[in-house]
């Protein structure tokens, strides 16, 4: 079955680095036997959800406090295609949930799934997601954090093929905290598309991660972080490593509304080229309408430090291993921000495995 996909055009500025062709190819691919997914759950207590092509595999899942329900639609060009029923984590005031893990297995063609995470005042949650398989996987995740609610989130994209697109929409209330880390360490195309708004005073947002690309792959993040209230803090730290003829693009924007005085927004976008044939695009943007704000931003692209490489080799480390260690150190800035140790180590191992294969 072929559907006519309504997709954005790369002539639009916000989509200029999107690999719409790869997405379309993935969407039109044939379904195959799904790969295993249950072995991707980490050794953590709490809920475990396994979705195969967007459908819950109940026998392999433990829902805990998570429910399946109708999710509000989005008007985002990709997000709006993930319609209808999806998973929902809602926590009452002061509730603290055990970690929620979600593994998404895709077997080909297209699959869509919406989700929501809604935390009442002072509630705290951790949500960790893993994507494996092939085909086009499209997700909408809506996050609403009430005053002082805290969400720790980490997402790894490990598909062997195809394309993963994530649309993340978040609203942060007063003193709420969102820390989200994304790692793309598979061999699929990807777009991580975020719209985060701080609507309450003193909110805190970390939104960043690492994209690792090789072959002919194209991956990107496109994130807008909006400060609409006083005393907000945000950090967008992204790292891109590009090998072969691949392309990794980081577009991150900070918007500070007129009333959002005392905003502290940090942006750090850095790219590393493993070969000169690869491309890293960086687009840091600041749009500031308040006058009393602090926004630090840095954007650099470079190659591995030749002096450090020789130093390591002179101590006995073979060149590919030295390259892997230096690259890993470059990516660590992003991954080390994951607060949960088990998750952090798993993500680090994924990055290592990617590097071992790429170098």
């Amino acid at each position: 079955m072929t559907t006519t996909l309504e997709l954005p055009s790369t002539r639009e500025e916000a989509w200029r680095w999107a690999d719409i062709d790869a997405l379309r190819r993935a969407a039109e691919s044939e379904r195959a036997v799904p790969v295993a997914g249950a072995d991707r759950f980490l050794d953590l207590p709490g809920a475990r959800l396994l979705f195969v092509d967007g459908v819950l595999d109940e026998s392999a899942s433990i829902l805990g406090t998570v429910q399946l329900t109708q999710i509000d639609a989005s008007d985002h060009p990709l997000g709006r295609q993930a319609l209808g029923r999806g998973w929902s984590l809602r926590l009452d005031r002061d509730a603290v949930a055990e970690p929620v893990q979600i593994v998404h297995v895709a077997s080909g063609a297209a699959n869509h799934l919406p989700a929501e995470i809604v935390l009442a005042e002072d509630a705290a949650a951790q949500v960790y997601e893993t994507y494996v398989g092939r085909g086009w996987t499209n997700r909408l995740t809506r996050v609403k954090l009430a005053a002082s609610a805290r969400l720790m989130r980490a997402v790894r994209l490990l598909q062997d093929d195809g394309f993963v697109s994530l649309r993340e929409e978040a609203e942060l209330g007063e003193g709420a905290s969102l820390t989200a880390t994304f790692l793309a360490a598979g061999t699929m195309g990807a777009r991580i598309d975020g719209g985060i708004t701080q609507i309450g005073d003193g909110a805190y947002a970390e939104f960043g991660g690492a994209l690792l690309t090789k072959g002919e792959l194209k991956q990107e993040c496109a994130v807008a972080l909006r400060h609409a209230a006083l005393n907000g803090q945000s950090h967008q730290l992204w790292r891109a490593v590009a090998a072969d003829r691949s392309q990794a693009s980081l577009a991150a924007r900070v918007e500070v509304a007129r009333d959002a005085q005392k905003t502290d927004g940090e942006q750090s976008l850095r790219g590393l080229l493993l070969q000169r044939t690869a491309t890293v695009n960086l687009k840091p943007e600041l749009e500031i309408f308040a006058d009393d704000v602090k926004c630090a931003h840095g954007a650099t692209v470079g190659e591995l430090d030749a002096k450090a490489l020789f130093y390591m080799q002179s101590r006995g480390i073979p060149k590919p291993r030295a390259q892997a260690l230096l690259t890993r150190a470059f990516v660590a800035d992003a991954i080390d921000r994951i607060g949960n140790e088990v998750v952090r180590e798993a993500f680090a191992a994924d990055a290592d495995a990617w590097l071992e294969a790429a170098l």
Partner: protein, 252 residues
């Protein structure tokens, strides 16, 4: 027994000749000092022996323990027992000293078909070497050389040498940047680690003071890419008194 044999070595950087027919032999059990004016090519010699990319050998040969050294990759040279103490040790943000050295040691052991050391075994060794050189244990956990003072970097080079336990060390101005106490500690360290009948050292230095602790068997003067004079320990004292003026004239 000859350990390192350099014959008529010519090398250039970016097409610019730096080493211009350098000949030198070092026997097992010996310490040789190399002195010479700034820009003479002393560090270049160290880098060429270490195999640094961009340093092109255009003529001559180097044999190490009977093997053609120039045919080996830098990491293979290390595994063969060569250690290069850097004049300017390199900072590696994001890689801890412990990880760096454990990787190094186990990579060398792997290339020599020896079993890798476990984390515990390695830490014990690393702590002992750090103690021996008065390097704070905490510095082992820090990223390699990042934020280290000049003297700490040099001590760290010696800790690395202690852990890797090479057969042949080329130490490029390991004494520069060291305070008086550190100089003695480093000197003792070099003697402890490298004074053995089956080991040898090439000590590049500008000053006699390190040679008070690590007594050389031979002293050479490197000027304009060649060894222009060789002698016993007394040559270093003479140079300290009279400078290089006489030596360079003699070479011309």
């Amino acid at each position: 027994m000859t350990m390192l044999k350099i014959e008529n070595l010519h090398a250039e950087i970016d097409g610019k000749p730096i080493l211009k027919g350098l000949t030198l032999e070092v026997n097992a059990g010996e310490v040789h000092a190399i002195m010479g004016p700034n820009g003479a090519g002393k560090s270049t010699l160290g880098y060429v022996l270490g195999g640094r990319p961009g340093y092109e050998v255009t003529e001559g040969s180097v044999t190490f323990d009977g093997v053609d050294l120039l045919e080996l990759e830098p990491n293979e040279r290390a595994a063969a027992g060569l250690f290069l103490g850097f004049q300017y040790p390199v900072e590696i943000p994001g890689v801890s000293n412990v990880q760096f050295l454990r990787e190094s040691l186990n990579a060398q052991r792997g290339q020599r078909d020896e079993k890798p050391l476990s984390g515990g075994e390695f830490l014990k060794l690393a702590r002992a070497q750090a103690d021996g050189l008065g390097l704070n244990q905490d510095m082992l956990k820090r990223p390699v050389n990042v934020g280290f003072s000049g003297g700490e970097k040099k001590r760290n080079e010696m800790v690395q040498m202690g852990i890797l336990n090479p057969k042949f060390a080329i130490l490029d101005e390991t004494d520069s940047g060291l305070d008086i106490d550190a100089l003695r500690i480093v000197g003792d360290g070099i003697n402890r680690i490298m004074r053995a009948p089956d080991k040898a050292v090439l000590l590049i230095t500008h000053y006699q003071r390190l040679l008070d602790y690590v007594q050389p068997d031979r002293v050479h003067v490197l000027a304009d890419g060649r060894i222009v004079r060789s002698g016993g320990p007394e040559l270093a004292l003479e140079l300290e008194r009279e400078g290089y003026a006489g030596v360079e004239e003699a070479a011309a």
